[in-house]
């Protein structure tokens, strides 16, 4: 992440994303596949690390094997297999959605995981319970724990979509895009940007 100064002198935190160049590796259409989609691939990988099936698939679009593949449905641009899509399709000031995998937080309690407030009091008989979930089942009714009761457990490492993030700046020569605010995931992780 970094930050950028807008024209009015205000500083905005933003994330740098390397968006492309992505190669179109397959064009799906309604007649043959039942739906319209573009399959995009990003980041080269060595041929020795690719399987024969992958090499065969990429040779159809005359590109080298890639690390990441993602299908975008009902895509608005007319493209043929083998063509590239770069950061130019975005413009500054536009709103986009960013999809990624959030950072894994491990096994977390209900306060961090679900925003519970814990048992509020330190006195009146409470002891060592400030981050406890409280009652989960009741004694006479319902006398059981409802399904879906929010409890402690694994947190993070989920698919997260951040909606309506602003494109602040674009560097077409390096395919970098600056997006206002933060995006899901670790540094260096892969995200998808949708218009």
């Amino acid at each position: 992440m970094t930050s950028i100064f807008m024209q009015d002198g205000k500083q905005t935190a933003c994330t740098i994303i390397e968006a492309g160049p992505c190669t179109v590796t397959q064009v799906k259409n309604k007649e043959t596949d039942g739906y319209n989609a573009l399959q995009l691939a990003f980041a080269d990988k060595k041929e020795k690390h690719a399987t024969q099936a992958e090499i065969g698939h990429y040779s159809k679009s005359a590109t080298s094997p890639k690390k990441f593949v993602k299908e975008f449905r009902e895509y608005f641009q007319e493209k043929n297999a083998g063509e590239t899509i770069s950061v130019d399709i975005f413009s500054e000031g536009e709103l986009v959605d960013v999809v990624g995998t959030s950072k894994g937080k491990g096994f977390q309690g209900v306060v961090k995981r679900h925003g519970f407030h814990g048992v509020g009091e330190a006195s009146h008989g409470q002891h060592d319970r400030s981050r406890a979930p409280g009652s989960v089942g009741g004694s006479s009714y319902p006398s059981r724990v409802f399904k879906g009761m929010r409890m402690a457990g694994r947190m993070g490492n989920d698919r997260v979509k951040m909606k309506g993030l602003k494109v602040v700046k674009i560097f077409p020569e390096k395919n970098y895009i600056l997006i206002s605010g933060s995006v899901p995931g670790h540094y260096g992780s892969i995200v998808y940007i949708q218009k």
Binding site: T2, S3, I4, F5, Q7, G9, Q11, I16, E18, F171, K174, Y176, L178, Y187
Partner: protein
């Protein structure tokens, strides 16, 4: 620093030129203030307490004594509102963060000038 961050910083920071200054130096910062649609320049003069950060996010803190009260302001180097910086005096100090000045007042809060 990450190559991508480095590249973006180089793109964003290329335009401005300031005199080189360090913690302990006495500087005057011309800062643009927009009041009721009008723009004017205010000068903040004091000692540099610290310089921190890299690239576009780098900032410096200036401390002065105004009417017996210590006032500190943090300026980002690459803010479009920082109009100019004038270096008045080079200070003779031994550390890069002069937090100790906050506990001092009067004559003890002075910084010796470095002469060449």
């Amino acid at each position: 620093m990450n190559a991508a961050v480095q590249f973006v910083h180089d793109q964003l920071t290329g335009k401005k030129e300031f005199p080189k200054f360090k913690a302990g130096d006495n500087i005057a910062v011309s800062y643009k203030i927009i009041e009721g649609g009008k723009e004017r320049i205010q000068i903040f003069r004091g000692d540099v307490l610290k310089i921190q950060g890299t690239g576009t996010t780098a900032t410096f803190t200036v401390r002065k004594i105004s009417d017996g009260v210590g006032v500190e302001r943090v300026f980002p180097f690459f803010s479009p509102n920082v109009d100019a910086i004038i270096l008045n005096k080079k200070g003779k100090v031994r550390r890069s963060k002069l937090y100790y000045l906050r506990e001092r007042s009067g004559k003890r809060a002075r910084i010796k000038e470095r002469r060449f």
